[in-house]
Amino acid sequence: MTEKIRKSVSTPEESGAEVVEDISVGKNAHAENLKADLDNLLDEIDSILETNAEDFVNSYVQKGGE
């Protein structure tokens, strides 16, 4: 399942050669910027994430809606 997600997400950016042919230079530069921004976010994301992910996820319960 992990591979399935990765396949779809990694196609456009990481296998750059086949994508570059299809899209404009501007779009490609924009995609590069987004990739750089994502790398920056990954470097600091652990300070943003809840400290105990498991407790946080388990305690997030919403009953009653609509």
């Binding site: 997600i5 943003i48 009653g64 609509e66």
Partner: protein, 512 residues
């Protein structure tokens, strides 16, 4: 001709309290009261016109469980014409009635700012380490869902069954650009880890094609027949099948494309061969197909991918535009709205057919998936790691500095200044302008308000009721002179010819 597509969004936010035990109802009420109290916007909602048990198909089912109207919880009407209240166990913001998708995005963003301000004000009143936090998402990952409902004005003349059949195809396939993304499955008969990632938050929760309920046995087409306007002329299509979006562009496309498809249906321009054979199972299948490569079956036996179906609907929409124009989704303020929606729709589908490149910063499910995959890869995590589910939740976290969507550099349609202004100023081109201006000018005289009327206590005599049964009247063009020439609500009532408008009177001036 198709009716102008007056539209709006109601968003229920997820809510938790930290550091203290509190029911979600209390936490939600604290938020609404913190905001309404601070801005003296505690005008009460009038429930007189609410009929959530009336079915658009003209009958009622004895075993149906329509939502109850709850009158005892915090509830206020804002000077921008919106409603901010506690619905069941969530804080909910309903945008004012808007004339265009651009304005819906603006007022949805204003709703986010209202929620953020509410959290800040409420948390400032709470003791240290006590906190109320909200999330603009649609599920808790444990099978509990809450809604982001869209509303569209449609003609009463359009046969409801036909409208339901056609628009369902759009609802099932628009997921590929409207979905907000979700880690795991919440479908009843599946284990949570049966799906690692899917396109929408909501697809797991739909069990019927059509019906009245919104909380159990959810239907793709909700038949609540509660138009909040002249019921002989109009319907309000109440759409419960969508996700709440963090991306402004996703909200724009969701509302814009749906408005156009509804107009096509009203004008007989929808391609009638595009009907999905089994929408309930297909809506889930589309949500789980992140490669967007699996074909789905139409009632005529042909197989097409959701992307192919969306391209066919778009082509029909482009032909419709050539023949009929798209004034029904545009306005004086936004005259090129129809063309803009079509252009973005085409660009988005084209990007999706190339793996999504070009739409990573406009489509929520792609942005969230990039983040989750990159984090998983960097830390070599298993697909079931709780940190991935935490990332999913925090993509929607409404706290400043904690919202991961904000950090994904999503493209913007609305400036911060415009969102702030829209918290207090109503849109110009619907009756929301009149409602908002009355609340700005004479809040102490407004006893209660709802979508289709205002009730004034002018200090002497009976309460005065101003009916607003036409969503496209009460606009700035029609009423701004009234607001500059009238200095008291009684002068307004006299100017409208409503001096005998006690609670039961319906004489309506030209302004409405």
């Amino acid at each position: 001709m198709a009716l102008p597509k007056v539209c709006g969004i109601e968003t229920e936010y997820g809510v938790i309290s930290r550091g203290f035990d509190s029911s979600p109802i209390v936490a939600s009420s604290v938020l609404v009261n913190a905001y309404a109290g601070a801005f003296k916007q505690n005008i009460q909602w009038d429930f007189g016109d609410e009929t959530p048990d009336r079915d658009a198909r003209g009958f009622s089912l004895e075993d149906a469980f329509p939502p109850e109207v709850e009158t005892h919880m915090a509830n206020s009407v804002l000077t921008n014409g919106a409603r901010y209240y506690v619905d069941h166990a969530h804080p909910e913001v309903s945008t004012p009635e808007c004339r265009t998708a651009t304005e819906v995005v603006l007022y949805d963003r204003a709703g986010e700012e209202i929620i953020k301000e509410s959290m800040e004000r409420a948390n400032a009143l709470l003791p240290d380490l006590h906190e109320i936090i909200t999330y603009k998402n649609n599920s808790d990952g444990k099978g509990n869902s809450y809604g982001c409902h869209e509303n569209y004005l449609v003609s009463r003349e359009t046969p409801f069954g036909q409208l339901a059949t056609f628009i369902t195809t759009h609802f099932v396939t628009r997921q590929i650009y409207c979905g907000a993304g979700k880690v795991g499955s919440e479908f009843l008969t599946e284990k949570p880890d049966a799906v690692s990632y899917q396109i929408t938050q909501r697809a797991d929760f739909f069990e019927e094609e059509i019906g009245l309920e919104t909380t159990i046995r959810r239907p793709i087409i909700n038949t609540r027949d509660e138009p909040h306007c002249d019921p002989d002329k109009y319907r309000r299509l109440h759409v419960i099948v969508g996700d709440a979006n963090m991306s402004e562009y996703a909200t724009y496309l969701k509302v814009g494309t749906t408005s156009i498809v509804l107009a096509m249906i009203e004008d007989g321009a929808y391609p009638a061969h595009l009907i999905i054979d089994n929408p309930v199972s297909t809506i889930r299948a589309v949500s789980r197909d992140i490669d967007m490569s699996k074909a789905i079956r139409l009632t005529n036996g042909t197989l097409k991918t959701p992307l192919e179906i969306q391209f066919l609907i778009l082509e029909a929409a482009e032909n419709y535009y050539q023949q009929s124009g798209l004034d029904c989704v545009s306005s004086d303020d936004f005259p090129r709205e129809g063309e803009n929606i079509l252009a973005l729709w085409r660009e988005t589908l084209s990007n999706l057919s190339h793996g999504g490149v070009g739409s990573f910063d406009t489509i929520d499910w792609l942005a969230k998936m990039r983040l989750i995959n990159a984090y998983q890869e960097k830390n070599d995590l298993s697909p079931n790691d709780a940190r991935l589910k935490a990332l999913d939740l925090q993509y929607h976290d409404m706290r400043a500095g904690k919202n991961l969507a904000e950090r994904m550099n999503l493209r913007k349609l609305v400036t911060q200044g415009d969102a702030d202004t829209a918290r207090t100023e109503p849109p110009h081109s619907t009756r929301a302008f009149f409602r908002g201006m009355c609340l700005q000018k004479w809040p102490e005289f407004v006893v209660s308000a709802n979508w289709d009327c205002l009730i004034f206590d002018v200090g002497e005599g009976p309460l005065r009721r101003i009916p607003m049964m036409e969503p496209l009247r009460g606009t700035r063009t029609l009423t701004e002179n009234l607001f500059s020439s009238c200095s008291t609500p009684m002068e307004l009532i006299l100017a409208l010819g409503l001096e005998h408008s006690e609670l039961t009177s319906f004489k309506v001036s030209d302004a409405f």
